[in-house]
């Protein structure tokens, strides 16, 4: 048992900290607050921040060097995520975190050469085409079709909840190549968004932003050379993507939660309620659960670092951090009152923390990347071996 970072890992953290101090002009929250920044401008900031990280070797930290990575482990990658919480999120988050592992595990050498470098540099931004209006939690019910057209395919159908679709250049798509084979009839394609037969519409979310979109396909070209894996292997590859989406993310969230809880404690100190027994109990439970989350995170990290692929245990982490995120935001809204409702650019808003945004966003995290209910299905079937009905 060892829950510690090694000396080299600590050194990596210190170097990174110094680099961030040098290179990060202002915290992301200030960009968000700046009235000059509209959604387009904010996305440009994320893109140029990504380019800067790429030049300095801080992207794909745990990827093999031959694919443009730094050749370190998931532990250093987690350290990066924790240290960089005040920096803009990178533009190509979906591509690097989700598609990256799928390409490394399942793509051909030509495909890796073609796609990975531009994904890392931010030249090509990716979005994920999995969910559909009638295939959310029940993903295998997806109906977007890939019809053969000579050597290639033509796509017909619709994807939804496509994060960053309005800003993306490429989409990785699960499409049906056999209508009669639920799992074996799905294939994984890399598809350009800049072509005829594709329409992207933004969806406005409860926060007012349009981070999501819908993507409509009517005869868009999906090239055979851009098919990942063989025909009908899409489901298997999608499972790799989803496992990485769920696994090993606790530490990044933790760094945010550390910052949030600190702000909450400061807030109740300022409003004079810190000595109230009910307030103390609420804050103590949030503190305790945060440490449990950290212990779970270290444990997953240890298992990934020893070379194991993310397994069904990733469902535990996903449920824990996402549900904790709701409890934390609700706790802050309870204890800080309407001060925590003020939007980031409002007078009297808390200077370092956007609780309103966090409270609303916390309703999304228990739905995306496999809802809490799907995670509980995975645990009860795959770990507890409870019988199917």
């Amino acid at each position: 048992m060892d829950f510690q970072f090694s000396e080299e890992q600590q050194r990596f953290r210190m170097e990174l900290r110094a680099w961030l101090k040098e290179n990060l002009e202002r915290p992301w929250i200030e960009e968000l607050r700046d009235p000059k920044n509209d959604e387009k401008k904010l996305f440009d900031i994320r893109r140029s921040w990504q380019a800067k990280l790429h030049e300095s070797g801080y992207l794909g930290i745990h990827w093999p060097k031959e694919w443009g990575g730094r050749g370190l482990t998931v532990v250093e990658n987690a350290i990066f995520a924790a240290e960089a919480i005040h920096a803009p999120p990178i533009a190509s988050r979906v591509g690097i975190n989700l598609l990256g592992p799928a390409l490394i595990h399942h793509a051909t050498e030509e495909q890796r050469k073609r796609f990975i470098p531009k994904m890392l540099s931010g030249e090509e931004v990716w979005c994920q085409g999995f969910s559909e209006p009638d295939a959310g939690s029940d993903l295998a019910a997806l109906r977007t079709r890939a019809e053969p057209d000579g050597d290639d395919f033509r796509l017909e159908g619709q994807k939804v909840w496509t994060t960053f679709a309005p800003w993306s250049d490429w989409i990785f798509v699960l499409a049906r190549t056999d209508p009669d084979d639920r799992y074996g009839g799905i294939t994984f394609f890399l598809v350009s968004l800049h072509q005829e037969g594709i329409e992207v519409r933004p969806i406005r979310q409860i926060t007012g932003e349009s981070e999501f979109g819908e993507v409509f396909f009517s005869g868009a070209l999906a090239k055979r050379e851009h098919m990942v894996g063989a025909l009908g292997e899409g489901w298997k590859i999608a499972m790799t993507v989803l496992a990485y989406e769920r696994g090993s993310m606790s530490l990044a969230h933790l760094a945010r939660f550390d910052h949030y809880l600190k702000d909450l404690v400061e807030g109740v100190r300022e409003n004079g309620s810190l000595q109230r027994a009910d307030v103390r109990e609420k804050i103590a439970r949030l503190l305790v659960e945060k440490e449990v989350l950290r212990a779970n995170g270290y444990r997953t990290l240890a298992s990934l670092a020893s070379g194991q692929a993310p397994g069904p245990e990733a469902s535990l982490e996903k449920i824990f951090w996402s549900e904790y995120s709701r409890r934390l935001a609700d706790g802050a809204l309870d204890l800080l009152g309407l001060q925590a409702h003020l939007l980031v650019h409002s007078p009297h808003a808390r200077p370092h923390m956007d609780w309103a945004q966090e409270a609303l966003y916390s309703r999304a995290v228990t739905i995306y990347a496999g809802s809490s209910e799907i995670q509980r299905n995975i645990i009860s079937k795959r770990i507890l071996k409870l019988p199917s009905s």
């Binding site: 048992m1 103590a284 439970r285 299905n377 645990i379 507890l384």
Partner: protein, 360 residues
């Protein structure tokens, strides 16, 4: 980063599990809890002493096994799994207290505790609603200890008591007279609480200041130990539940195939596994004397308390009517964790300790 047990602790886990599965499955241990005065088997405890389990955390020169805090957690987790009866953790804590008292007399009693020859227990609490022992009224005066301690878990079976007094920790060998133990039957029928009134000859082992230092360390070990016990109890309770809902049929199908029960079982598992992460991280921090140990131990105890209450309560609910019968085992787990929530630093006090460790 590594979560696996090292070779020694993995071996320890296998050995203690084999021992417990052979000696104390619930079919054998329930008669000990329910039909004996002591509430446990003295022979088995002597055997544990022979095998070195009572001195698990002590150094080899003290007759211990030097298995460290992680080793202790491993053994207690296994004991929790089968709801092993009796004062195992209390004996370990008394041994740890004696080991920190540097006197010849303490070493002699330590030998006898570790080998299982004598039962030495701590007597600390003086009020049922103040388990934190904030004010100690028991006095040591002219070689006599006077005062009342309650509850003293398994106190009636003690050969020697380590009594906290306003003057420091005193050692009270069971005398012929002047030691009155009154039984306090409680919610957990396997527990043996007593009230002990003392007007007894004894010796002071430490002054007040070093008593405070020693007991603070022992308390951390106690909280960690109780967390590991609760982890094991939850684990055992979840195993019972899974076995039951995979067998039991209603509406023409196994009840474990109903999604509503599957999700409840999943929530139980989440609690068990998260408690495991918390317990072993805290054990590791305590073993390595890290600064964050106080936060992590308090967190583990508070979280395991909340979780064990939930998991063992769900077991009764998922068993349905039979879960409320004396005959079935769920109540054994439920009652034990309700007691552990209060002992070794109640959840309420651990939450406060967690805040204070962070300057909040």
């Amino acid at each position: 980063m590594q979560f696996e047990l090292n070779e020694n602790n993995a071996l320890l886990k296998t050995s203690i599990r084999e021992f417990l599965e052979k000696e104390t499955p619930l079919a054998k241990s329930r008669p000990m809890m329910e039909e004996t005065q002591e509430g446990f088997s003295k022979e088995l405890y002597a055997e544990l002493g022979n095998l070195g389990y009572l001195g698990l955390t002590l150094s080899e020169s003290e007759g211990g096994a030097a298995a460290g805090v992680i080793g202790l957690a491993v053994v207690l987790e296994e004991m929790g799994r089968v709801a092993f009866p009796g004062p195992f953790l209390d004996l370990v804590l008394a041994g740890e207290t004696l080991s920190r008292v540097k006197s010849q007399q303490a070493s002699q009693f330590l030998q006898e505790t570790v080998s299982g020859q004598k039962s030495v227990l701590l007597a600390r609490s003086e009020a049922l609603d103040d388990l934190e022992r904030s004010v100690i009224q028991t006095r040591f005066d002219q070689d006599t200890i006077r005062g009342t301690k309650l509850p003293v878990p398994y106190g009636a079976s003690a050969d020697v008591l380590l009594v906290t007094t306003a003057e420091g920790v005193a050692l009270v060998p069971r005398p012929e007279e002047g030691w009155k133990a009154t039984s306090l039957p409680a919610l957990d029928h396997a527990q043996r609480f007593v009230e002990i009134s003392l007007d007894s000859p004894g010796r002071l082992l430490t002054d007040k200041q070093s008593a405070d230092t020693i007991l603070k360390e022992v308390d951390q070990l106690g909280a960690l130990g109780a967390s590991a016990l609760m982890l094991g109890l939850m684990e055992g309770s979840l195993e019972l539940t899974l076995d039951y809902i995979k067998e039991r049929k209603a509406f023409g199908r196994t009840i474990g195939s109903f999604q509503v029960l599957q999700h409840r079982a999943a929530d139980m598992w989440i609690r068990v596994e998260s408690s495991r992460s918390a317990v072993y991280r805290a054990a590791w921090a305590l073993e390595n004397s890290l600064e964050e140990a106080s936060l992590l131990v308090a967190s583990a105890k508070a979280y395991c308390g909340d979780s064990a209450r939930f998991v063992c309560g769900e077991t009764i609910q998922l068993f349905g009517g039979v879960g409320y019968t004396w005959e079935y085992d769920p109540h054994i787990y439920y009652k034990r964790v309700k007691t552990l929530e209060q002992l070794y630093g109640s959840t309420r006090n651990q939450l406060e300790a967690a805040l204070q460790s962070q300057g909040i």
